[in-house]
C-alpha cells in the first residue's frame, strides 16, 4: 500500500467517525422529541453524559478488550488499557503488509460505535429511570459488556469463523444495545399512566415532533458513516465501489423502511403516523446494517421495507405486553437488528443462517443476562426507578433542578 492510499483510508475513516459521532446528536434529538416536556433536560443530560462516558470507558479498557490481538481464549479477551501503538512507516511498506490505515483512526472509528449502542438504551428507559443509576450502567456497558461481546466477532473470538457475519454491527451494536435496554425496561416497569386499570396501553404523546424528526434525519445522515465507514477502506478501485454500494443500499433501505411503515400504519390506524414513519426509516437502517455491502439495491429496498413493517407491528406488540419503550428502541434496534442479521445470508455466501442464529443467541443472550445482573445490582443499591412523586413532577425538576422551557422564572434575589 502506498502512503497516499494509507492517508486516504485514514482520512475516510476519520470523516466517517465524525459522522457516527453526530449520531449521538440524532439520538438526543429523537429522544428529546418523543418524551414529555417535563423530562427534556434529564434526557438531554443523559445523552451528553453517556456519550462522554462511552468515549472515556472505551479508551480506558474497552478498546483493548474488544481488540486484544491475542485473546486469553475464544470467550474471554482479557484486560488491556488505552489505545494501540501507532503504525510505523516500516509496517506499511513491509512485504505483504495488511496495514491500511492509522491505528488511532481505527480507535476513533470504534469508539463512536460504543456510544451508539449506549444511546439505544437511554430512549427505552426514558421518563422513569434515575439519572445516576443509568450513568453507572453506562460505565459497565461501555467499558466491559459491549467490548466483551464485540471481541467474539470483530475482535477474533468465538464467533469469528462460525459463519457469523455482521458488517457494521446490526447485532454487535444495535441488537446488543436493545438487549441491554430490554433488561432495564423489564426491571423498571412501565411509566406511570401508560396502562389503564384493565391493562390497555395509553398514548403518552411526545412533546416535540419537529425535534424527533430532525433527530431521525441526523441519524440517517450519520448512518452513512456507520455503514459506509465499516468498509474500513476507500483507496482503490474495489474499495471505492464497495463504499458507494454501501451508501446506496443504506439510503434505499431507510427510504423503503419509512414508506413501508407510513403505509402500514395508515392501513392499521387510518392516519399517517409520523412517529411510526420515523421509526420505519430507522428500522430500515438497522435492518441493512448487518450486511449493506452484498445485496443488490433492489434487495436492500426489500430488506428495509420488511424492517419498516416489522417495526410497526413490534412496537404495538411490545406496548401490549407491558414492555413500555417510549421511543420504540427495542423494536427498532433489537427486532430489526435480528431481522437484518437473518437477511445477510440471502446475499452473502460467507454467512450461514446457523452462524447468524448462533451470533444472535450468543450476543443477545449474553448482553441481556449481563445487563440484567448489572441493573439488578444497581436496583439493590442505588435503586433504578425514581420516586412516583418525582415521576409525576418530571425528572427535569427532580434530577436536574432545571426546566427545558422555564416560564415566569427569574434569578433569585
Amino acid at each position: 500500500m502506498t502512503e497516499l492510499e494509507y492517508a486516504l483510508n485514514t482520512f475516510y475513516l476519520l470523516i466517517c467517525a465524525a459522522l457516527v459521532m453526530w449520531m449521538a446528536a440524532g439520538f438526543t434529538m429523537l429522544e428529546a422529541g418523543l418524551v414529555r416536556a417535563r423530562n427534556t433536560v434529564e434526557i438531554l443530560t443523559k445523552n451528553v453524559a453517556l456519550y462522554a462516558i462511552a468515549c472515556l470507558m472505551y479508551f480506558l479498557v474497552g478498546y483493548q478488550m474488544m481488540y486484544p490481538g491475542e485473546g486469553v481464549n475464544a470467550f474471554w479477551p482479557g484486560f488491556g488499557f488505552g489505545v494501540s501503538a501507532e503504525n510505523a512507516l516500516a509496517d506499511l511498506t513491509a512485504e505483504g503488509s495488511e496495514v491500511a490505515f492509522s491505528s488511532l483512526a481505527d480507535f476513533m472509528f470504534q469508539v463512536v460505535f460504543v456510544a451508539t449502542a449506549m444511546s439505544i438504551v437511554s430512549g427505552a428507559v426514558a421518563e422513569r429511570m434515575k439519572l445516576w443509576a443509568f450513568l453507572a450502567f453506562a460505565v459497565v456497558m461501555t467499558g466491559v459488556i459491549y467490548p466483551w461481546q464485540g471481541y467474539w466477532s470483530w475482535g477474533g473470538g468465538v464467533l469469528d469463523g462460525l459463519g457469523y457475519s455482521d458488517y457494521a454491527g446490526g447485532g454487535i451494536v444495535h441488537m446488543a444495545g436493545a438487549a441491554a435496554a430490554l433488561a432495564g425496561v423489564l426491571l423498571l416497569g412501565p411509566r406511570a399512566g401508560k396502562y389503564t386499570a384493565d391493562g390497555r396501553p395509553r398514548a403518552i404523546p411526545g412533546a416535540n415532533l419537529p425535534l424527533a424528526t430532525l433527530g431521525m434525519f441526523i441519524l440517517w445522515m450519520g448512518w452513512f458513516g456507520f455503514n459506509g465507514g465499516s468498509e474500513l477502506a476507500v483507496a482503490g478501485f474495489g474499495s471505492a465501489n464497495a463504499v458507494a454500494k454501501v451508501f446506496v443500499n443504506t439510503n434505499l433501505a431507510a427510504a423503503a423502511g419509512l414508506v413501508a411503515a407510513l403505509l402500514f400504519a395508515r392501513f392499521l390506524f387510518g392516519k399517517a403516523d409520523l412517529t411510526m414513519a420515523l421509526n420505519g426509516a430507522l428500522a430500515g437502517l438497522v435492518s441493512i446494517t448487518a450486511g449493506p455491502s452484498t445485496p443488490e439495491p433492489w434487495l436492500a429496498v426489500l430488506i428495509g421495507a420488511v424492517g419498516g413493517v416489522v417495526v410497526v407491528a413490534s412496537i404495538l406488540a411490545f406496548d401490549r405486553i407491558r414492555i413500555d419503550d417510549p421511543v420504540g428502541a427495542i423494536s427498532v434496534h433489537g427486532v430489526c437488528g435480528i431481522l437484518g442479521l437473518l437477511a445477510v445470508p440471502l446475499s452473502n455466501p460467507d454467512a450461514t443462517f446457523l452462524g447468524q442464529i448462533a451470533g444472535i443467541a450468543l450476543i443477545g443472550g449474553f448482553v441481556f443476562v449481563a445487563s440484567l445482573g448489572v441493573w439488578a445490582a444497581l436496583n439493590a443499591t442505588l435503586g433504578i426507578r425514581v420516586h412516583p412523586d418525582d415521576e409525576r413532577a418530571g425528572l427535569d425538576f427532580a434530577e436536574c433542578g432545571m426546566e427545558a422551557y422555564p416560564d415566569f422564572a427569574h434569578g433569585g434575589d
Binding site: A203, I204, G206, L268, D273, T275, I315, D319
Partner: protein, 112 residues
Amino acid sequence: MKLITAIIKPFKLDDVREALAEVGVQGMTVSETRGFGRQKGHTELYRGAEYVVDFLPKIKLEIAVPDDQVERVIETLTETARSGRIGDGKIFVTELERVVRIRTGEVNESAL
C-alpha cells in the same frame, strides 16, 4: 361601563380585531386559552393509541366599553366570529365598577 369577554375560534381573531376597530373599539386584551363547551374535545392518535384532547385551543378577548357601545360590540363579535359550526364560542358581559388609567390616573369612561 361593561367588560365584554368573548371566547372565539383562534383563526377568527384577525377578522374580529379589524371589525371591532372599525366600530370604534379603542383597545382589547387577547389571550390564548383552552376550554370546551358543547363541542367537547376530540380524539387524536399516537402510535396507534387514541388519546382525548379535552380542552381545545381558543382565544379570549377582553374589551372594556362604555354602555352605549355594548350592543354594537356584541353585534360585531357575533357577526365576525361566527362560522356557523359548533365551537364558535361565547360572549359574556359583566358590569364594570371602576377603571383607572395607570399612566395618568384618569378614571372610568375617560380611562377607557
